[in-house]
């Protein structure tokens, strides 16, 4: 419940970004994919969606962290006596929600062009994974840069490995077997797979980020 409140707090403090900047960014991003949808093949459309997602994801998350920096929110939460693990968890959940929000319109052109729901879910999963990785990596980089002792260097490196793994799953997605193939053919498994990955990364984060020493 407390975590849920903290996530809604993230939404409140970033509401401007969501209410105005984000739809604007998505409109800019969706235009080329819509254009492609009328002429290009499905695989090109998916590739374009992933590429544009990179761009939109980067811009959005840079904005989130600029706002984070301007408002000094991590320090505020520590002064407000919020547990460090809750701080990181709520921001990670917010990043994931933001990734999902960004990607709903981005896969719309694919939804129009594809004749199977699994292809749409597939593209959506890949895009969300990529966005989450971008956002999470930027959050960690931000923490590392501004709150040096929030994480030790070894924790930071290990987290980078987790994110690389997630990114790897996204990248090898079209050809890989095993989990990836299952994700490819079952939309429900795609969602569960993503939730599972997120959960694993999150519990790993909890263990890694519970640094004994508070910064400053």
């Amino acid at each position: 419940m407390h975590l849920l409140k903290l996530v809604s707090r993230e939404v409140i403090i970033n509401y401007k970004l969501i209410a105005w900047r984000l739809p604007f960014l998505i409109l800019i991003a969706i235009f080329p994919t819509l254009h492609l949808a009328s002429s290009a093949s499905l695989s090109l459309l998916v590739a374009a969606s992933v590429a544009i997602n990179f761009l939109v994801g980067m811009i959005t998350f840079i904005q989130v962290f600029l706002s984070e920096h301007k408002n000094n929110d991590l320090r505020l939460l520590l002064v407000l006596q919020v547990d460090k693990k809750h701080i990181v968890d709520s921001k990670m959940i917010f990043i994931t929600l933001l990734s999902i929000l960004i990607n709903i319109p981005l896969v719309l052109p694919i939804a129009f062009a594809a004749d199977s729901l699994s292809v749409v879910c597939n593209a959506f999963t890949v895009d969300v994974l990529i966005s989450s990785v971008i956002g999470s990596a930027m959050l960690l980089l931000y923490i590392r840069t501004n709150f040096e002792s929030f994480m030790t260097l070894s924790q930071y490196v290990r987290w980078a490995i987790v994110l690389s793994f997630m990114l790897g799953v996204s990248m090898m997605h079209p050809t890989a077997s095993g989990i990836v193939s299952a994700l490819q053919f079952n939309p429900l498994l795609a969602v569960l797979g993503f939730a599972g990955l997120w959960y694993l990364a999150n519990s790993f984060t909890r263990k890694l980020l519970l640094a004994r020493k508070v910064p400053f």
Partner: protein
């Protein structure tokens, strides 16, 4: 009265000990031989006890270590040596409800410029389960802070009032305030004193730093005086409040 026993003594030679002996379990906060260094500055072997329903004033010149002492109680700074316990538990082992029972003053650097006052307080309330909406509204009205304005549109004094409102509205069991009267007009200072007195009567342990001793008449129970990171004097008594005369006569020579 503990203070009167020491009039005429050389305070700088007093041992760094708190005069109030209370059972450790019932204490709100406790610092035991705490040391913390930053570059050239070092806070040395500090002992401090905060009891329920008392106000502890930490006095000292600028750079004496007052804010560092508050940071140690807040948990935003870890001690190099010694232990910090709050509500009878080590600072790092506090539960969520323990954490929510600690209220801290928010300086202007922690106020988000882009949010309106209303949204900022909402964001603080969401991070705290014991938030008193009615109190926040009443204090904002009394201080004359327009809740529809953005934080960046507020004057420095108004920002200070907003930070105080956010701290007091938590209904905490331990209240940590850094210079709560600085930048406030006389009427607002009186209101803050009144709220602190009410908090104290409800059993809250209050720790504050201030240079404005005349505002603390009858409020302060215990005083610690710091000089260059060292505890040079401790005085007080749970049953007796410091008078304005005692504070203004005795403290300045010690700072």
């Amino acid at each position: 009265m503990f203070l009167s026993h020491h009039i005429g003594m050389d305070y700088t030679t007093l041992p760094a000990s708190n005069p109030v002996a209370t059972d450790g379990e019932s204490r709100v906060a406790n610092l035991d031989h705490v040391t913390r260094s930053f570059g050239d500055f070092s806070l040395k072997r500090i002992n401090l006890q905060v009891n329920p329903g008392t106000v502890l004033l930490i006095a000292g010149a600028n750079g004496a270590g007052k804010s560092t002492l508050l940071d140690l109680l807040m948990g935003t700074v870890e001690p190099d040596e010694g232990t910090v316990t709050v509500f009878g538990r080590p600072r790092s082992k506090l539960t969520q409800s323990d954490r929510e029972a600690i209220g801290c003053s928010l300086d202007r650097k922690l106020l988000p410029d882009g949010l309106s006052v209303r949204l900022f307080l909402k964001s603080v309330a969401l991070a705290c389960g014991t938030w008193d909406h009615e109190m926040a509204r009443t204090l904002l009205d009394h201080f004359g802070v327009d809740s529809s304005k953005k934080v960046k549109e507020l004057s420095e004094g108004m920002k200070k009032k907003l930070g105080i409102t956010a701290a007091l509205s938590r209904r905490s069991r331990l209240l940590l305030l850094d210079e709560p009267f600085a930048g406030l007009d006389a009427e607002s200072q009186e209101r803050v004193v009144k709220e602190l007195d009410a908090a104290k009567k409800s059993g809250t342990g209050v720790v504050l730093t201030s240079h404005q001793f005349d505002k603390l008449d009858g409020l302060v129970d215990d005083i610690l005086v710091l000089r260059h990171g060292e505890l040079t004097c401790s005085m007080g008594g749970q049953s007796t409040r410091m008078s304005r005369h005692a504070l203004s006569e005795l403290l300045p020579p010690l700072l």
